[in-house]
Symmetry: C2
Subunit: 698 residues, 2 copies
């Protein structure tokens, strides 16, 4: 558990807050939280600590934290060089949690990092949690507990309303910005936490805590990097077990972004592709920008999760309906045709309506608004589609028509509480608010309807398939360094992968004997731990059909090996020539600096190499995740068999991925990398077989 102790209850639900470095000026960093707390309705005790003042902003001040009585949460707003003393004093005073605004630590260099680690160690030893340093603080909207100096909190009237979305951000600026945008968008927020340098409390700690908080339905998480990959995974498992969707913005999607992120944050960036795979593996929805971050959060907080991926689209505008259908299909939803009964019933109502799906009510719905409720009831009563998205255009602005439509909608909404129902439209703010309060997500942009359904369906699947990462027992000792091919293939065999049976030969006679045992035709390859691409130097001979061919190949391969300066030559490998249809794949293991052992899958061949068409997961993976890896590659169709080729043995491939990943997890402390290449996947029922491997251990 990382040496961290103590829950974060004192942080989020303090009965008393002390501000150390309290300023009488409500505009100063040490003055703002007091000003904010006074105006935001916080009901607990506020204790300014200031040795030079009797009162601060009208409140009695205390010379030291030790004089301030029982303090659940202390805010440290003193200059950085005084901060360590504050930690000591708070521990001595029995403070539950400390939020440290002070900066000048790891963000400035090694000295600062040492100081910050010392402070964290002291806090832990004293049973106190610490947020920061160099953070903008914490807020719990429902209790007016705003322990922050971010100007976003300076006006109560521009604060977002209390809600059920928690916002966790490594960046204070980003957190504050989201608070302001949430207010603009009318989104309710439960908590905001900025974690800054994360000397003690990090994003994962906050996530784990808030995932168990009954006030929280959805968690928005902004990440620049991650210091503790396994900790983050554990926190995500808690969130998933509690059915709390996690939506993330993570920096560094591109090389330019990754480079900037690396220099911006003290945290290790790791590979973004691995991070992205980890998000999919543990059910995090990754948003592209702040708009999507907040909007998906809002949709999830309001809506239900659909039972299936079939979506009904209802619209008064054919064009907008089709725009939504395009978006839905592109995001993996099923715009299935409505049942014939629905189609024919609706055709009776509006003969010229489009009825397949989208259901196009046409402008008729303006002349006869009762069509609206009939359309919705038809769709909901006669299908089991998990979601309905109905575009309302600008109709809800109309005092007459709008009321009829909204009343119809609310009746249907109430009668079908199990469905995910979304109503995009140009709603006046009050209408959108009413709709959202009653459980209907109501964005302005019509395509955000299907986008939100896709996000909700993503979480529905993730929650249904939730399996915590199994703990894998530490494995046996492996040989160390760069292994030769015989050793490498032994490692795969130990891992439980099917490997070709091959024999080592140090002389031509041994090669001939091996070939006779194996049966012609055979393949022969140079055996050397120092030469990776044997075929490039003439170290591989295929289709050898008799003794003479084997002898000639042995001599040629040995000569080719001898021509490579300083390469150790261990002999030759003799292996059976594998014939018949098969698809070449590559399975690999690498060690990610953040998340440890990562398993990789891709198809072999030059095209895939040119396109980087591979998938990743954090090891170990179960069969569901292994199948997801297989399904994720763009050239997936090749495994179904193209151009008369038979379908490949996906089960065997799945088994191989699971086995390799489990082995990688068991030997994480010894492994540097594994590449099994090629692994031939044979037709269905005929299995898979690894032909070659490179294994590097520590």
């Amino acid at each position: 558990m990382n040496g961290k102790t103590g829950s974060l209850q004192s942080l989020f639900y303090p009965r008393s807050i002390a501000v150390i470095g309290a300023s009488t000026d409500p505009g100063k960093i040490g003055g703002r939280p007091i000003d904010f707390l006074k105006r935001s309705g916080f009901q607990g005790r506020i204790a300014p600590v200031n040795p030079k003042a009797d009162t601060v902003q009208g409140l009695p001040a205390f010379p030291t934290i030790g004089d301030a009585g029982q303090v659940d949460l202390a805010i440290c707003a003193v200059p950085g060089q005084l901060a360590e003393q504050v930690v000591d004093d708070c521990v001595a005073a029995g403070v539950g949690a400390l939020v440290m605004f002070s900066s000048g630590f790891a963000e400035l260099g090694e000295d600062g990092r040492e100081t910050q680690e010392r402070m964290a160690a002291k806090a832990r030893a004293g049973g106190m949690r610490m947020v920061g340093p160099n953070c903008m603080g914490v807020a719990t909207m429902g209790t007016g507990m705003v322990a922050t100096f971010h100007p976003a909190f300076s006006k109560v009237e521009t604060l977002p309303r209390d809600g059920r979305i928690a916002l966790i951000s490594q960046s204070g600026a980003f957190g504050g910005l989201c608070i302001q945008m949430a207010n603009n968008r009318g989104i309710g927020i439960s908590h905001m936490v900025t974690t800054g340098n994360e000397a003690d409390v990090d994003v994962a700690d906050v996530l784990a805590e808030l995932a168990q908080d009954p006030q929280v339905d959805v968690i928005l998480m902004y990440l620049e990097g991650c210091r503790d990959g396994p900790g983050l995974i554990r926190a995500l498992e808690i969130a998933r077990a509690n059915r709390k969707p996690v939506v993330a913005v993570k920096l560094g999607r591109t090389a330019a972004g990754a480079e900037a992120a690396q220099s911006h944050t003290a945290a290790l960036a790791g590979s973004d592709a691995v991070f992205d795979a980890m998000f999919r593996q543990f059910g995090v929805y990754r948003a592209r920008n702040i708009e999507e971050f907040l909007d998906i959060g809002c949709a999830l907080a309001i809506g239900r999760l659909p039972d299936n991926n079939r979506i009904a689209i209802v619209t008064p505008s054919g064009g907008v309906g089709i725009l939504m259908a395009d978006e839905a299909e592109e995001r993996g939803l099923d715009v299935a045709p409505l049942p014939e009964t629905v189609q024919s019933s609706f055709k009776k109502l509006i003969p010229f309506a489009g009825v397949r799906n989208p259901l196009d009510m046409t402008a008729q719905v303006i002349s006869d608004p009762t069509l609206f409720e009939q359309a919705l009831e038809l769709v909901l009563n006669e299908t089991d589609f998990g979601s309905v998205v109905c575009f309302l255009g600008a109709a809800t602005s109309d005092p007459g028509l709008g009321k009829v439509l909204i009343d119809s909608w609310e009746r249907v909404r109430a009668a079908h509480p199990e469905r995910l129902m979304i109503a995009p439209g140009m709603h006046p703010p009050a209408v959108a608010q009413e709709l959202e309060a009653n459980g209907t997500y109501a964005p302005t942009e019509p395509t955000y309807g299907p986008r939100a359904v896709a996000a909700a369906w993503y979480f529905a699947q993730s929650f249904a398939n939730a399996v915590d990462q199994p703990v894998v027992a530490r494995g046996s000792r492996l040989p160390s360094g760069q292994l030769n091919e015989i050793e490498a293939m032994d490692v795969l065999r130990t891992a439980g992968l099917p490997v070709v049976s091959e024999r080592m030969a140090k002389t031509a006679d041994e090669a001939v004997a091996a070939a006779q045992d194996i049966g012609y035709p055979v393949v022969m390859k140079l055996l050397s731990p120092d030469i990776l691409h044997k075929s490039d130097i003439g170290g591989v001979k295929l289709g050898l059909r008799d003794e003479a061919a084997v002898r000639a190949a042995f001599d040629a391969i040995m000569a080719a090996g001898a021509a490579v300066a300083d390469a150790r030559i261990d002999g030759c490998i003799v292996a059976p020539m594998i014939a018949g249809d098969s698809v070449e794949t590559i399975l690999g293991v690498t060690m990610d600096p953040t998340f440890g052992p990562v398993v990789m899958f891709g198809l072999g061949g030059v095209l895939v190499e040119a396109m980087g068409d591979v998938s990743f997961r954090i090891a170990p993976v179960d069969r569901t995740q292994a199948r997801a890896m297989i399904d994720e590659i763009r050239a997936r169709k090749v495994l179904d068999g193209v151009r008369n080729a038979p379908p490949s043995d996906i089960d065997a491939l799945t088994d191989a991925i699971v086995a390799l990943s489990t082995f990688a997890a068991a030997h994480a402390d010894q492994l540097v990398s594994i590449e099994a290449n090629p692994v031939l996947i044979r037709p269905e029922g005929q299995g898979a077989i690894a032909l070659d491997a490179v294994v590097v251990t520590r």
Copy 2:
């Protein structure tokens, strides 16, 4: 020219408007345009036509259009069955243009289509342009000319301001919705046109006209389908020649959307992939949804086009800066490092700032706002980066800080008029309006900054590379039907493609003679117009090295051909065995129902077949477009040489695409399809060669 005549000046800038079927009720379809026109400041004459009333909504009414004096524009708001008479009357009265709201035509079936075509023919014969039927009308915002019944125009105060963005929509509902969203977003609109059934005036006509209108800077175009592909292309060429960016929403991106679009619109859908390629070819930016449609339009109307794709990102929040850098790079912009001089100068101002790019001013800019102008001037004076995106956070809401920052920005903006400068932020509406009025696009979402730069750069490139489609003279007569391989290869040779020299042989002796002429080794293939995939039936033999092999191959191939029932067998082909490094590609021609001859390019091989990794263009293409086709495929890197392979002869491939596309355009009336497969692309300087082809003519 499609039989269409007459400019659309009477439509957009009428001095007098008659409303036929004028209603005294301002809420009725025949009453609304009069009501709207009266309240929207239209300065021309409004002439209600109503045989039963002396006055309509306070205006003197006329019994017939013939009594109404000189009428530039007439609106037809009568029931469908009376519409044809209105056309006759308007032509007789010398009306310049007619907007027909009336419905019940092609959208209902064949009878309606015939009536509508008859009306269009009458209008054309009479020198009158007609919009609709079944449309919601036309508006020119600058003159208050609102010839529409869409409720979006019912309140003057919710209309978008007069601006420089024209909106053309096939759907009235969509057009009205955009008007309402434009008002919400504060976007200025010059014209709105809904084209409905497009019996005469279609989207292309309107586009061509507005592309030459000095009131218009940007054109937004909503398409469900297209009846006249070549006409649309001509209109896009006019827009490009006039440097008017065109942004499109086009339905039917996915199978679900295409199916719905097909049933929704009377127009032919064609292939969305071809439409998408046409957009790229003629410089149309395709938006994914309404938000992007309007937002990119707004950005283009406000901003300049950048001189290059280098983007400088300036930010007070490291995180948001990186988010913008990710977006920029993902959209093909170059987040190039700032010059060392800029980096070191800024380090002197803020020692701990990130300076590479993004330039992170940190929260320091809040304490010292003069840093802002210094940062901007450094970036603009010491780089030639085409664009600068500066995130302003919520700072412009602050009365003090905000004013300093805005004043700084405006000074810098004025001093560097040639740069594209964008300032995303949580601006109060008045600030955003001021910024946009002074030439700064100011969206709320920070990533929309780089998104807009990418769109502007797209148009900068498109305008710089603008070449109109050349007119290709009609080509010579081709043999008809499904050609055999010898004939097909002759077609390629005629087209100017390099093809392998091959010989036909009807006997084994002829095959041997051919092989001796060509030189061993040779390839032999069955020659039959009825068998497409010869290798699947054993009809191809490779690497034949001597006479015996050729004779055996001849017999085997003939036997394989004879085993296919009803297949005509023309003999055997003998061709040289092409050796050495090369990349297999496929070049093709298909006939698109909307745009005619389309040229296709892809890499050969099973993986690409599994992924559909191909590119399209409307034929003919020049070298620039051919290069764009080559660069567009995902597996592009293969042509650079992967795994020790040499780079391919891209010039030869480019030549082949240009030649094939020109041939396709010249023979568009005769061709059904061409597939040259494989076309081997050899290493640089060694050319390309087509080995096989299938050609089908009418």
